[in-house]
């Protein structure tokens, strides 16, 4: 008897949620809200149909390994800066589309994301980003700036990014790049996608 009641409540909540989402989406269309990144390019991994998406600029190691390449990929649309940042970073932490190389160690996951009043974003990442990092100044720079640039390029309100590991401030990922302070974007290591 009780379990059936719970089931009914559950289904009800789900229905209300879906309805709310539908209303929000149609309101958005009416208000003409556009996603932050406008150019729609064909993502390397086509998304399942039905989920609203935006195009985000993500950063991968170039095929020759010397630089980052800015690649436009579709990520799920989310409401508000923080949920959208989560979607972008989740996509950034996935493997790279060919012919590029991922500069984020495998198994790295986003733990939390928040933005301070000063416009500094805090990206809290799982320890794999450090423990599984191959090391070396060059790759560490690419890893750090793939994350910093992915946040700042897609979220115009964010000026600087501080990387945290397991909720704590850290010195470096693998002994080289200074992570004690929030970092500004750096496009000097980035090549535009050909």
């Amino acid at each position: 008897m009780t379990s059936r009641r719970y089931l009914t409540i559950g289904v009800g909540v789900l229905l209300i949620g879906l309805l709310a989402w539908g209303v929000m989406r149609s309101l958005e269309r009416i208000a003409g809200v556009q996603p932050a990144v406008e150019r729609i390019a064909e993502g390397p991994a086509p998304p399942p149909p039905g989920v609203p998406r935006i195009t985000a600029t993500l950063f991968y190691g170039s095929a020759d390994g010397n630089e980052l390449v800015a690649v436009r990929r579709e990520v799920p649309l989310a409401e508000g800066t923080v949920p959208q940042a989560r979607e972008i970073l989740d996509a950034q932490f996935q493997g790279a589309p060919t012919p590029y190389a991922s500069v984020i160690p495998e198994g790295t996951a986003l733990r939390a994301f928040y933005v301070s009043e000063r416009g500094d974003a805090f990206v809290d990442i799982s320890p794999e980003v450090s423990t599984r990092h191959p090391g070396g100044s060059a790759t560490e720079l690419l890893t750090v700036y793939a994350i910093v640039n992915a946040v700042t390029a897609n979220l115009p309100t964010v000026q600087r990014v501080q990387i945290l590991i397991d909720g704590r401030e850290v010195d470096t990922l693998a002994g080289h790049v200074d992570l004690r302070r929030p970092l500004e974007r750096d496009f000097s290591v980035v090549r535009e996608e050909p």
Binding site: N66, S137, V177, R180
Partner: protein
């Protein structure tokens, strides 16, 4: 036609020079290039030497466009673009940012830029080498050989011993012509560190009758002169020994030598009179150590082992050849924190900090060495400016004052970034010269943690990629490790010459 062009250029320079008189004229620079020598006017504003942007445009055939709306100036040359913004002390060249000591200044209807703009901004725009040598007021453009020539008296004698140093090493022909020794140096021009006063049997060192000759003028009592040019450590040294004519020793003893400070005998001058060398202590930092192995090569090579091996080789090279104190931040397989490494260098009041590392890449093909120096973010730039503004002037015994810069300890590198950039440049050149394969981005500016707190010129050298199989084998070899050590040693020598030039005379 050529005369007309030369006249036009001269008139243009004259006009710009006269115009510059309106503000506060600085001493002109001399531009040395394949095409010859020509003067460039400079202006002093608040102690900063500036050069007019339209002069630059005319000399180097660069197109300048001002964007009054955005408050920026755009320079274009063969499809490359440089952007200057009116209120920021930096320029962006093809997307890369370079720091300038001051922002561009408007003077009437022309823009003035700091002279440092030439080597830092214009050089990458033109894709040409531009070298600014302040003490000799030379601006060296393109692939021209302009060695630095310095001279010193080692012993007044008799016999009088002197050394002429040519850096970098350059072929030289030395002959005796009458009362002087003439050194003919195979170069396009010379960056002379004299005229210098002589002592004993040498009257002095003078620029020669040609732009590439040097006169060592001998005194009246000079007899035979022996001179032996030799190359060592990337520098050509001419050792000169002048003796009195045979049998005139008694006469020499009777008449006091005319030298300003004649020592009583041929003993070398006391060490106290030698100015403090710009390099007395060098700290070498072998990256990683202990549980922190650094990069792991697929064949089992660990970064921490190679960095220590090369550090030891480099220490031996510097100690035996330069006689400079070398401190290693670790001399065994122990972990040392990044702060402890910086503290070791700061506490030893080191003059140079060199961190050795090996690189890694997700792409196996990536190879080559890279030299890094610190990039300051906005906070660091603020710290640098604050350090200059907040200098504390303290009275010292005897009525003089001493200026002490106050800077946050963890941003100590902020005041050395310009010298560190130069250090990275000479290291890159010297490594290349030692046949060390360089990477696609051989010189980079990055916010590296170990460099931020060191209070001296500093660079981090990534000696190769352990993720590349060929390089993994290479970095283990004695030959490669010696080549890297030699390259860094040569870079240190070049940096020392640079620092000596910068030192107030």
């Amino acid at each position: 036609m050529r005369v007309a062009v030369a006249f036009l250029l001269f008139a243009l320079l004259l006009v710009s020079w006269l115009h510059a008189q309106g503000t506060a004229p600085g001493a002109p620079l001399t531009l040395v290039s394949r095409e010859g020598r020509r003067p460039i006017a400079t202006t002093m504003v608040n102690g900063q030497e500036l050069i007019a942007l339209d002069d630059v445009a005319a000399l180097f055939k660069v197109a300048v466009r001002e964007d009054t709306l955005a408050g920026g100036i755009t320079l274009t040359y063969q499809g490359r673009t440089l952007v200057l913004s009116a209120d920021r002390p930096m320029a962006s060249v093809s997307g890369r940012v370079v720091a300038l000591p001051v922002p561009p200044v408007r003077s009437g209807n022309r823009w003035l830029v700091p002279v440092e703009f030439l080597p830092r901004g214009l050089a990458p725009l033109l894709d040409a080498r531009i070298d600014l040598r302040r003490p000799s007021r030379l601006l060296i453009v393109g692939d021209v050989t302009v060695p630095r020539v310095t001279a010193r008296i080692d012993a007044a004698g008799p016999p009088t011993r002197a050394t002429v140093e040519i850096a970098p090493a350059t072929p030289v022909r030395v002959t005796r012509e009458g009362n002087r020794v003439v050194a003919r140096i195979e170069a396009d021009a010379l960056d002379l560190g004299f005229p210098g006063e002589g002592a004993g049997l040498i009257d002095g060192f003078r620029p020669g009758d040609q732009p590439t000759t040097v006169f060592i003028v001998l005194g009246d009592r000079a007899g035979t002169a022996r001179f032996t040019p030799a190359d060592a450590g990337g520098i050509t040294r001419i050792a000169i020994e002048v003796a009195t004519p045979a049998g005139s020793d008694a006469a020499a003893a009777a008449t006091p030598p005319p030298a300003p400070t004649p020592p009583p005998d041929a003993a070398p001058p006391p060490l106290l009179s030698v100015p403090r060398s710009v390099l007395q202590t060098i700290v070498i930092d072998p990256g990683h150590g202990g549980t922190d192995t650094g990069v792991h090569g697929s064949a089992g090579v660990e970064e921490k082992q190679i960095t220590l091996q090369v550090a030891r080789r480099l220490r031996t090279l510097i100690e035996t050849r330069l006689g400079v104190r070398v401190i290693l931040t670790r001399d065994d397989d122990t972990p040392v924190s990044l702060d402890d490494r910086a503290a070791a260098a700061n506490n030893a009041k080191a003059d140079l900090f060199l961190s050795l590392h090996l690189n890694a890449s997700p792409i196996a093909g990536v190879a080559g060495a890279e030299v890094f120096y610190l990039r300051l973010d906005r906070e660091g730039e603020d710290a640098r400016r604050a350090a200059q503004a907040d200098a504390v002037v303290l009275p010292v015994l005897g009525g003089a004052t001493r200026t002490i810069d106050v800077i946050q300890w963890d941003l100590a590198q902020a005041r050395h970034v310009d010298q560190s950039a130069m250090l990275a440049t000479v290291l890159e050149e010297a490594l290349r010269g030692a046949k060390v394969p360089m990477g696609a981005r051989p010189r980079q500016e990055a916010p590296l943690r170990v460099l931020t707190s060191v209070n001296m010129p500093a660079a981090l050298i990534e000696m190769g990629y352990l993720t590349n199989d060929r390089q993994q084998r290479l970095v283990r070899s004695e030959e490669y490790q010696n080549a890297v050590a030699q390259g860094i040693y040569d870079g240190v020598l070049r940096f020392r010459s640079y620092m000596e030039e910068q030192r107030p005379q």
